[in-house]
């Protein structure tokens, strides 16, 4: 080798360091074009690996021997049923034979029974499900199994072949298990995975999405291996959750321990309960303690949040459905005593896409509103909406309908126990009316918990003004000043 910088790159690579894309490209270009250089570098890598393995094999020969022995034991486990059956047959034959010769008719019956048992045994043996072959257990939504890009019919117990891709779209979920053991995998919405058997060991490839795995103790030497583009996870028996996106993979341990390996440099970390690790560019490949509590805020346009839906529904134009309004403020009032038309406006507000860490419990939830009113002794009532409402711009939502062909049980969405949750409401009030004020109200933590864990249960809040002729406006998600927009603050712990 003549090129010192190139040698430096090469030794860094051998040392397990990550090369930048430019450095890898340079090295690739040089070794691709220079045959003698390539041979020299590859010879060097062979000797490097040889020395590493030589040292290791001298240090832990006995451990290695035990590991091989354990794997042979595990393989023997797989045939335990068949061997037990054989032993039982051997034990029972002498007794049967004695009875056979004493009673010829029973001999014939015994022969027939033995034949059936043998055929049944052979059938069970030939059609046995390897413990490492995944089966579909429970699913919701439009889950698909793609085999050679063609969807397969789904049924409980459907076995996944090595060429199958399990596709879990948004709004769907699926549970996968394994015959004869308690291992259970929950694949969450927007997940694609392949699950296959490799020499009796479970393998899972996850390129995108989330999975929670509750893994029963695996046979010695045959860990369940979960592979993402950024991480290789070897699982002996544990519960953990794992999320994959384009930037990286995050794994959180609930109990047990797993061994993690970063594919590009082989760096290994053992992750234990209460810790997480993120395998992504620029992040340390190291275990970190999982926070036990935290606070998250959702306010349209701030910190990347953009999931709020809010609008007003009115009795004006109630034939056919009442008007809706999406302004910078949400009107909430009931006009009774003017000479003009009597009418009422209520407002709906929903924070979509709210999330807290997996397995976290909501300990408190607060809603902060900027409210504009010039009326004294004002009052607002907030109801937790139960029935789904369609916030899309051209939907049929209005005073009478919550969606196309789906009327509110009571016009204006006030059906107790049908449109809104029965017996659950909160109030916001003020004594003086001096323009804009900020109010923070405590929400029901248990209800907000359901919003986080089940997005379909998150239908937000209906605001009603019970006092006639007191006009109140709530700054909406479209308010010019983002800090005036409604803010949901959730504190969680685990």
């Amino acid at each position: 080798m003549q090129d010192e910088p190139l040698k430096e790159l090469w030794t860094r690579r051998l040392d397990g360091a990550s090369l930048s894309a430019a450095e890898a490209d340079e090295l690739f270009a040089r070794v691709s074009t220079g045959e003698s250089l390539r041979k020299e570098l590859m010879d060097d890598e062979l000797f490097h690996g040889l020395l590493l393995s030589l040292a290791r094999s001298e240090a832990d020969a006995a451990d290695f021997g035990q590991q091989v022995s354990d794997r042979i034991d595990a393989e023997a486990d797989g045939t335990r049923f068949v061997n037990a059956f054989k032993r039982r047959m051997l034990r029972e034959v002498p007794d049967n034979r004695r009875r056979v010769f004493a009673h010829p008719r029973r001999w014939a019956a015994g022969l027939a029974a033995a034949s059936i048992a043998l055929v049944l045994g052979a059938y069970l043996f030939l059609h046995r499900v390897p413990a490492s072959q995944a089966e579909l257990r429970v699913w919701t939504g439009d889950v698909q199994i793609l085999r050679d890009a063609k969807p397969q019919a789904l049924a409980k117990g459907t076995r996944l072949a090595a060429s199958d891709t399990l596709v879990v779209p948004a709004g769907a979920s699926v549970e996968v298990g394994y015959a004869g053991e308690q291992t259970m995998l929950e694949l969450e919405p927007r997940t694609e995975a392949r699950l296959w058997d490799e020499d009796g060991a479970k393998r899972i490839q996850l390129n995108a999405g989330s999975i929670t795995a509750d893994v029963a103790p695996q046979p010695s030497g045959r860990p369940l291996v979960l592979i993402t583009p950024h991480l290789r996870v070897e699982v002996v028996g544990t519960r953990f959750s794992l999320e994959v996106d384009e930037q990286g993979t995050r794994i959180e341990m609930e109990h047990g321990r797993v061994k993690l390996r970063r594919p590009e440099d082989g760096k290994s970390v053992e992750l234990t309960a209460g810790h997480f690790l993120e395998a992504r560019l620029g992040a340390d490949f190291a275990a970190q303690t999982i926070p036990t509590s935290g606070t998250v805020e959702f306010q349209e346009g701030l910190n990347g949040y953009a999931g709020m839906h809010d609008l007003s529904i009115s009795t004006q134009g109630v034939n056919p459905n009442g008007t809706i309004n999406r302004a910078k403020d949400l009107a909430v009032w009931r006009i009774e005593t003017t000479n003009r038309e009597k009418y009422e406006i209520r407002s709906l507000m929903r924070f979509d896409g709210i999330a807290i860490p997996r397995n976290a419990r909501v300990t408190s939830a607060k809603l902060t509103l900027s409210i504009d009113t010039w009326n004294s002794d004002w009052h607002l009532q907030g109801y937790y909406v139960k029935a789904p409402w369609n916030a899309a711009p051209n939907s049929a939502l209005g005073w009478l309908n919550r969606d196309q062909g789906k009327p509110w049980t009571v016009p204006g969405g006030r059906g107790d126990g049908t449109d809104v949750l029965a017996g659950k409401r909160f109030g916001i009030e003020g004594q003086t009316g001096k323009g804009t004020v900020s109010r923070t109200v405590e929400l029901d933590a248990a209800i907000v918990q359901t919003w986080c864990t089940d997005p379909s249960a998150n239908q937000g809040i209906l605001f009603i003004n019970p006092l006639a002729d007191k006009t109140i406006r709530i700054f909406s998600s479209r308010a010019s000043d983002a800090s005036s927009r409604p803010k949901l603050t959730i504190t969680w712990s685990r």
Binding site: E8, F28, M42, L50, L51, S57, F64, V68, E75, P263
Partner: protein, 189 residues
């Protein structure tokens, strides 16, 4: 050799202790052979376990006239080839051209070594002798890095040198060892 044949026959008859003794006798060579091509020690061990498991399953097909370690190395060569080709494809999928190409070249080289398993074993034996013949400073560095598991950064601090200097020193030592092994293996052949 006679002792080894007895162990093989006992293992064929289902004696697990005899097979474990065979594993202990040959694990060093199998792991070192695989380690030449596979850089990650844990993967080397996984593959080596596969080799012995496969040997246990197919012990009946082993012909006594061939050396047992050559038979094991033959199994190891196939395992390593499968692994290298698979790694090459995986790196290609990840658009990692360098690693994909290196794994592929290693696989090509391994395929070209068919029939040279005895020579590879001889080289491994020669390496042990060459390690003993290293100058004191070089020997210290090799022992600390490869056998005591100390990183280049740790060694740099210990010896008051830069990490780069330590890595380059190890590179030169590997060159010396390679030349030594070639001379001894050729001389011995």
């Amino acid at each position: 050799m006679e002792q080894e044949l007895k162990l093989i026959n006992r293992a064929r008859a289902g004696d697990r202790e005899a097979f474990t003794e065979l594993v202990l006798l040959h694990q060093g060579r199998v792991r070192a052979y695989l380690g030449r091509f596979v850089r990650i020690p844990d993967v080397v061990d996984d593959l080596a376990q596969d080799v012995f498991l496969s040997a246990f399953r197919t012990l009946h097909s082993f012909k006594d006239e061939a050396p047992f370690d050559i038979w094991l190395i033959g199994i190891a060569r196939h395992r390593a080839l499968d692994f290298l080709r698979s790694e090459s494809r995986r790196h290609a999928r990840l658009a990692n051209r360098l690693e994909s190409a290196l794994q592929n070249w290693h696989a090509d080289r391994l395929e070209s070594e068919t029939g040279q398993d005895a020579r590879r074993l001889a080289e491994m034996q020669a390496l042990r002798e060459c390690l003993k013949a290293l100058p004191e400073n070089s020997s210290q560095l090799v022992q600390a890095h490869y056998f005591a598991g100390r990183t280049s950064a740790e060694l740099a601090r210990t010896f008051g040198r830069s990490e780069s200097a330590v890595r380059m020193a190890l590179l030169r030592i590997r060159q010396v060892l390679r030349q030594c092994v070639q001379q001894r293996a050729v001389g011995g052949a």
